[in-house]
Amino acid sequence: MTRPAAPHGLPTRLAAVLQAALQAPGNQARFRAAGLMQPRRFGLERPTLVSNWQAQFAQLPPLEKAAVRQAPGQYLAGVADIIYRGSTSGSRSRSYTFFANRAWNEQRLRSRQDFLNWWGIDPAVPIVNLASRLMPGREADWAIVGPVNLEFIESLRAHLANRPWVGRGYPSRLCEIASLLPPSLPGVKAVICTGELLFPHQRELLEQRFQAPVINEYGCHEAAVRGFTCPEFGRIHLDEQSCFLEIVDGALVTTDLWNETMPLVRYQCGDRVHCHETPCPCGRPGLTVQVLGRSEDRIDTRQGLKMPGELALPTLPGLLHYRLQRQSPTLVAAQIQVDNSLSAPTTAVAEASLQTWVNQTLGNHTLRTTHHAAVASPAVPSEEWSDHRWLTTLTQQSLSGWLATSAQPTGEARPLALMLRALLAPRVIGMELPKVIQQQLMALTSSDAAADPAVEAMKVRILLLACSCISDRSISQDIYTQAVARQQKLATAPDSALQLDRLIPALHLPTSMLSPTWAIAAIEETWPLDPLHVQHLLAAFEVALQRRSPTQRSPALRRLRPPLAVLVGDLSFWAANLTTAHLHHWSELLQAPPNLPRPLTAAASAPAFLASWLSWRQALIHEPLTAGEPFAALTAAAGSDAEKARLQVERGYFDILRHVPLDPQEWLPIIDTHAADLTAAPPARPASLTPWLPIVSALVQPLYQQGQPELAYRCLLAATLTSRQQSAFERLTTQFNQKQSVLVDLCPQLPPLT
């Protein structure tokens, strides 16, 4: 069945999107063949849409997802005003990244809030994404990720404020959570299921355990397909203001009406839907559909081949939830969660009821069951370390190594270890430091001094780190003041490691707090860095950028984007030779106008390249247009391969700041030649692009203009840096919170291909 165009004709925005799409090389042959593109006399004119495009539109063959994934750059229609970077679901294959502009993003937010309003979910009601690969979307939202076990539930309860909230996630993961929930979880306004098909037994379990209505959210991110069930009739309404929707032989074919950066026209998003014949009685706008599943999914049943969404997996006696995989014509594997709250022994009842359903629906099969709890809730035994071993690992070995384990110190350092985990590897994402953690932090600031001076010194270091992990300025200042007061009570004189931690927050604290801090540091001081210092500096860079708008930063940092890449790139280069002068310089970069207690100068004994670099950076900040002389001095001082590579980075920054266009033909080979020289990593690992990112970012536009959209796309892809929270999210969700198939047939008897 094909759904014809809306009775009132094609949406008016479609013409603009088609005109934009014509600029993307990947679309041109398709558009030409469909008669949508004006013939070009010399082949050089800007492609334009034919005047009778409405008549020709239906002739355009649908665009397959695989074609875009194979050469995504070919579908870039422009590279200006890109502010959004998203990715496809990758449910059944690799994902690809798409880009969009401001207008698209505004429409996305508007459309989503309109749907949420149907359910009375205003922007102040937080949506909490639970154990799913879903980043928080709105300011009030947050996510809690990681393995679903009793600790997860405890953590969720502890972080819930005493106000309404909405849970959201993949239905299969929400069911795992629901099966562990206590009898009452306060304030649940609704539960939003997304990312997977929602089956009746899941809905029933979620409604019962969360004591809240269940909303089914459907979406295809890159195609701007969005749908929500209405409260009255539970039909999924699709947003036709965002996307032009067609249903061709049951498959959803979409045209995003707002993305003029990477327009996907007549795009097969890969889902099949059943379109309701009549409008929804609720009277709300939008085509209403039943989602049937991925186009390639088929289930062999007694009634022939069905889509997963056509089979209502019911609530069965003794079972909380279950997943089925037909592995052969005679074998179905089931992962089940038995309801242990019932008094009677339920495993046999549960397996019998599932066997009956399988036989009645799929035909006679052997049922092989596994109990969900066995593999879904790993309880990794916590290894116990001595306080000394923990302190040594932190300061002399690897922070990521420790955080990848569940090891905890056994002595008085234990609460410090828990706090450090919460700061560096949070499982609550998107929230300003959660209240629970803030309370623990306050308890730490007022706790008794540790008997072991090394542990007490580490406590001060962690408090100083904490003040660089908090966006709220006043809380941050308060913790800093208390940490410094604690430091002054230390039995032994603070070592240089602690002194440096005390100095780092000056990158984001107000100027009024700087003087006493800077006073402790001699300008010629060289600071040995340990892994904890590096994390502290990274956190301080992040929070300093968060707290200051671009206009409050130095002009240089305003133009070099992403600014975090400049700072991290500097740190990466100077980590082994870090001086107080570097901190002065970063402070100046981060703050405009600079207001430092003393002028920046290199120590007389500083190596030539460092002295030249500091002078050059001073010029770059204050007089970038006339910085030729210091740059020449820097050039003369560059001796080693790393210094020569660094020189190239600085030259790129210099060109960007004085508006000299960067030539990709020159710069791409330079980056390829020198990047490895700036990466402190084993040779087998890919090099880091971090210091080069402002240059890579500046190459996007010229590459696109020179007709190299694939390279422009790669530069766009590369020109970003992750963050502390984002990394924690990726780490945990990749391991524990992927989508799952609830019903899958590995051997459907598909009709032969014709």
Binding site: R92, Y96, Q325, P531, D672, T690, L711, A718
Partner: protein, 187 residues
Amino acid sequence: MSLLRDWKRVAVYCVGIIFSLVGIKSVSAHTEQFSDTSETPSVTTAAAVAQAEPPVCQYDWQEPQAYARIITQEDPLRIRATPGGRIIGAVPKGWAVVILEVNNTGDWTKITSHFGDPGEFGFGSAPSFREGWVASRYLAALGDFCEKPSLDMAAVQLMTGPDAQQYTVQEDWLQMGDRIAQTPRQS
């Protein structure tokens, strides 16, 4: 006959080495899968950028299977012939394995490799890997996948051609910190 047996051993050993390379890759890397409604900034693998990808899930041996990752504290995890029974092998921490079966109590899970039972030679990087039973508490469920879930480090190339450099994209924050802390001193 003896000669034939030796050749068989050599052939199995070679296959084992090839498999083991796949295994090594899976340990050191990081995969990406993004939700269709999330705002997860994305990355792509170098392979995704540089090469046309073959469609997945279309061959028998690539059909989705239930995977779990080995999450022991210390290497390796012992593999037993039966739940709680005789030790027959070991699997390294971080490996993604296929779940075959879980016993009635849920304490023990039967695992195999992405390629099935590797037999007496295991893999080059996991010579003791055998199909068998492991303690369930050391497994983290990953879900169903056509391909072996890897921890493939996201990478991109800026230039074309076989000699083009690969670059990490969105490097893990903690690993980046440790890498920076290990930066050798400039002379």
